[in-house]
């Protein structure tokens, strides 16, 4: 809202420099976004709030400043040159939709000379960045910017039957608007009509046919109140916001139309006009005055300081409240009609704080008498997974949650995506059901910018539509790797990302969460290359998958190199009970290692061997690792050689070779009965 400092002086004797004025305005919440010198004036740009339509004119701003500086607020003198004609004899006003137009006032001014406005008036309009047109148009703009009450002027001679009817538009009616456009009206739009046709779209724009022209002499002044929602919907439908509709949409002061009409009439009298007697005021259901009770102890309770009663009463009275002390320190307030924002005690306390000054409120820390124990298991686990990912050399990314049908279908997630009804673009019309698309985009972006290797992870929500049609959100972790890992180093070549580097990360994550007992199964999925993917299972449910990305998917993202990708559903995973954590003391006794190499069918997968060994629950077996695997000569065709290292340790004694032998026999027996194996030649198992 542009505010001219000179204009404010109509209401207050302002004697402060611009800096002081701007500071004062900021302190009462009327933020000055900027200012510029205009001729001998200064024009401020003030940010106003949706709930303070009273500050959309100079009058309202001047009132606030008057309160801030303790200055008297001066009302304008509005002398009228009245004729003997009664307004009611000249024009008839009828409201058919009282809910949409609660008040309509009118005056007639006859014999106005249409000419250019005097310099003082033109200057005021120019300071508002408006082009002066003629005295009548300028007066209505002037009243709007002075008071925040829009008014409209009609050529009375062009109002058929001298009748003003406020009604909804009829089917098929149209209006040639002042800006030259032809508006098709619908039956929800409120119009001002004469006997035969609409002459204005209420509160938004007037009609060309009834507008004031150079030959006009008799003017009808409309000063009314309209329902904000109705004006907003009309303005939106025709795609036009005017200074008038902007104010009506935000609520105008129901008490103000008579004064605005009088103000316009008074100005038109300066151009030879004579005003009709008696304001026509159709106001079928006068609004009730709002009352609020204010208690002194609540001021303290909310602000944390005592404000003197004198300050409270004086501030509220100058803001237009009627203050009556009902009991000691308890006041009943009548709220001025222009303050639509004030309904409760808290609203009034804000007014007191605003003018008292936020800077005078003390700065204290809130007392803390109780503190609940914090159980943040989910957040802790997520944070711990992030640390695993960093440790594994993955950089963290955050992608937008949106995707589009083509990309979404690429991943065959078997989930119904969430559809955005009013997306910013079709490229962002869905919420993603997988994080994979974002990661592949990031890989393409970074490869195109010279990155030799990229390892990325994202931890975010994925979204889907559930069976029962409600929406679901799953915490998801996805990561992808391609190209070289780490930095070049003089000691040797960099390793390349591959399936097992990704799988190792999966295992590290699962073990970090104490889900190490997860299992992997071969996975066939459109997203992954056939034979190069696994699904991850925990307690009978799929919790994720990993594999080499299928070339058609890579092609979609214009990626030429191999990429390995994994995605884990953390919501599903966290719902599972992890293995319990238990502390057992470190054994003081030495361990015994045994190496064991077996020849086994190539088709047998490691996981099956592991299961057989694990199921044995061998006593004192601390751990075992696969230390070598190979096939080809001297291993017979169709067979592979696997070498394991077993580490045994007892918690309270030194193990004897005989103890270990028993264990070893047990392991071999189990493997023999499960698979066809034999020991590699030249190695003794019975040492």
């Amino acid at each position: 809202m542009k505010i001219s400092v000179n204009w404010l002086k109509d209401h207050i004797d302002l004697e402060v420099d611009p800096d002081g004025l701007i500071d004062a305005l900021n302190n009462i919440g009327l933020m000055v976004g900027g200012w510029e010198a205009f001729e001998d004036d200064i024009v401020l740009d003030i940010e106003t709030y949706a709930n303070r339509p009273d500050t959309l004119g100079h009058r309202g701003i001047a009132r606030e400043i008057a309160v801030k500086f303790g200055l008297p607020f001066k009302e304008l003198e509005l002398p009228l040159d009245e004729s003997s004609l009664e307004t009611a004899d000249l024009v008839d006003i009828q409201i058919l939709n009282e809910d949409l137009c609660p008040r309509y006032t009118g005056l007639v001014v006859k014999g106005v000379r249409i000419e250019s406005s005097p310099e003082w008036l033109q200057k005021r309009l120019r300071s508002m960045n408006l082009k002066p047109v003629n005295n009548v148009v300028d007066v209505s703009n002037y009243v709007l910017f002075a008071t925040a009450q829009p008014i409209h002027t009609f050529d009375l001679g062009k109002i058929a039957g001298n009748r003003i009817i406020v009604r909804k538009a009829g089917k098929g009616e149209s209006l040639l608007a002042l800006d030259g456009s032809l508006l098709e009206l619908d039956s929800e739009m409120l119009v001002i009509a004469d006997e035969s046709k609409p002459v204005a779209l209420a509160g938004v724009i007037g009609g060309m046919d009834s507008s004031v022209t150079d030959s006009t002499t008799d003017i009808f002044i409309e000063s009314a109140s309209f329902h904000p929602g109705s004006i907003r919907s009309s303005a939106k439908k025709i795609g036009l916001q005017t200074d008038a509709s902007y104010r009506f949409e935000r609520h105008t002061d129901i008490a103000f139309p008579p004064l605005a009409a009088k103000m316009a009439a008074s100005l038109l009298c300066r151009f030879g006009g004579k005003v009709s007697k008696g304001l026509l005021d159709v106001y079928p259901a006068p609004a009730k005055t709002k009352t609020v009770v204010l208690r002194r102890h609540r001021i303290r309770g909310l602000l944390g300081l005592d404000v003197e009663d004198g300050f409270v009463v004086e501030t509220l009275e100058s803001l237009g409240f009627l203050v009556e002390e009902k009991q000691p320190h308890i006041w009943q307030l009548k709220v001025p009609s222009f303050r639509i924002d004030i309904e409760r005690e808290a609203d009034v306390i804000e007014e007191i704080a605003r003018f008292y000054g936020y800077d005078k409120i003390p700065t204290q820390l809130p007392p803390m008498e109780e503190l609940e124990p914090i159980h943040d298991e989910r957040r802790n686990r997520i944070e711990s997974l992030r640390q695993v990912m960093f440790h594994q050399g993955y950089d963290e990314v955050v992608n937008l949650s949106f995707t589009h049908p083509e990309e979404e279908s690429l991943f065959h997630t078997n989930r119904r995506p969430v559809v955005i009804r009013n997306p910013i673009s079709t490229r962002a019309s869905l919420l993603r059901t997988t994080l994979s698309g974002g990661l592949l985009q990031n890989i393409a972006w970074n490869r195109n910018r010279g990155a030799e290797g990229v390892q990325l992870f994202e931890m975010s929500k994925t979204y889907y539509r559930k069976e029962n049609d409600s929406y679901g959100e799953d915490e998801t972790l996805a990561f992808a790797a391609t190209g070289l890992v780490g930095e070049d180093h003089w000691q040797g070549a960099r390793i390349k990302a591959d399936f097992f580097s990704l799988k190792g990360t999966c295992e590290a994550l699962m073990s970090n969460l104490r889900y190490a007992a997860c299992s992997f199964m071969e996975l066939e999925h459109e997203c992954f290359l056939k034979g190069a993917a696994l699904s991850i299972h925990y307690k009978g449910q799929i919790v994720g998958c990993l594999g080499e990305v299928n070339p058609p998917v890579l092609k979609y993202f214009s990626i030429k190199e191999k990429v390995w990708l994994a995605e884990l559903n953390l919501t599903r995973l966290f719902a599972k009970q992890p293995q319990p954590f238990m502390f057992s003391p470190i054994s003081r006794f030495p361990s015994i290692e045994r190496d064991l190499s077996i020849i086994i069918d190539k088709d047998v997968v490691f996981q099956d061997i592991r299961e057989v060994i694990d199921r044995l629950s061998i006593l004192n077996l601390e751990k075992y690792v696969l230390v070598d695997k190979f096939s080809g000569k001297p291993v017979p065709d169709g067979k592979a050689s696997l070498s394991f290292r077993f580490v045994f340790r007892h918690s309270s004694k030194t193990l004897l070779a005989e103890d270990i032998d028993i264990c070893q026999k047990q392991i071999l027996a189990a493997l023999r009965s499960a698979f066809k194996i034999h020991l590699r030649e030249g190695e003794s198992i019975d040492k």
Binding site: Y49, R354, Y358, Q364, P367, F390, N422, W445, R449
Partner: protein, 345 residues
Amino acid sequence: MREIKNQIDAYRKELEKATARIKDAESLQELHTLFLGRKKGYVTLLMNAMKFLPPEEKRDAGQIINLFKKDVQDVLDGRQKSIQKSRIISFAADLTLPGRSPYWGAPHPLRLFQNRIESIFQKMGFSIEEGPEIETDFYNFEALNFPPEHPARDDWDTLYLDKDDWLLRTHTSPVQIRVMEKRKPPIRIICPGKVFRKEAPDPTHSPMFYQVEGLIVDHGITFAHLKGTIDFFLRTFFHEKIKVRFRPSFFPFTEPSAEVDISCTVCNQKDDNCRVCGGSGWVEILGAGMVDPQVLKNVNIDPEKYSGFAFGMGIDRTGMFQYQIPDLRYFFDNDLRFIRKFSRQ
């Protein structure tokens, strides 16, 4: 005398050759012993030889021997200095070669900022709460006192889903409502997370961004406590010496409301043409206020017994200001060169 002179010339030649061969402190020490050794050093030998000269020649011989001794000293000192310089590389292997360390992944800057904010509030006894990103009109607007015709509810500002009344949350305030529904005061929480608006991406806008909101509800919570909490947070997050300014504002869910500015850390309030604060000296960082009594009533907390305050700030925007990042979209481009910059922050 002549013999001594010849001998000295021979020694000089030997010195020249030997110095060229010196590679390290050890060989230098050897040479030192050879020439200046007390018992069998060349200079000592010359001195011994001088004793047999006639008295009239002794003086001259003494002079040339001393001159020679000084020259040797100078040459060896010079070598000593140059050896000390290159001493570190004088071992068998070059230990100054770059070391080897595993690559440690870099956190995304937004998560980094978020963690910093969280840890400050955790020190003040706040717990962290999260909630769904897909929300209903009730939790996102109605319970927060947004009137039905409020512009934020417009199709132009909020992303709505294909089912009526469902939307992508436009702030994390719904989490506050959900917590207040479940728990009775005292409540002392912050709610960080993703929020969504219908805004096309440009240098200062994004349809998705990060926010953190906070809430305290308890007996006797006042605006003074709001000021104290925010002041502590901002001075910890930015700098102890920044100035903090509270000015009146308006939000539907707080009353009274405040906008919180900090003194511009780019120009320190000294540049009238500062491109960050526009010369005003202040940068808007946070919105706050006392929880509106209606909001408390909506979640069955009696506003006569309890009061509270709430605040909210953009994580991306705050990070952009702190590090002078020129474009919001950098956060979502995920260029590794950008992301990795912050791991040493």
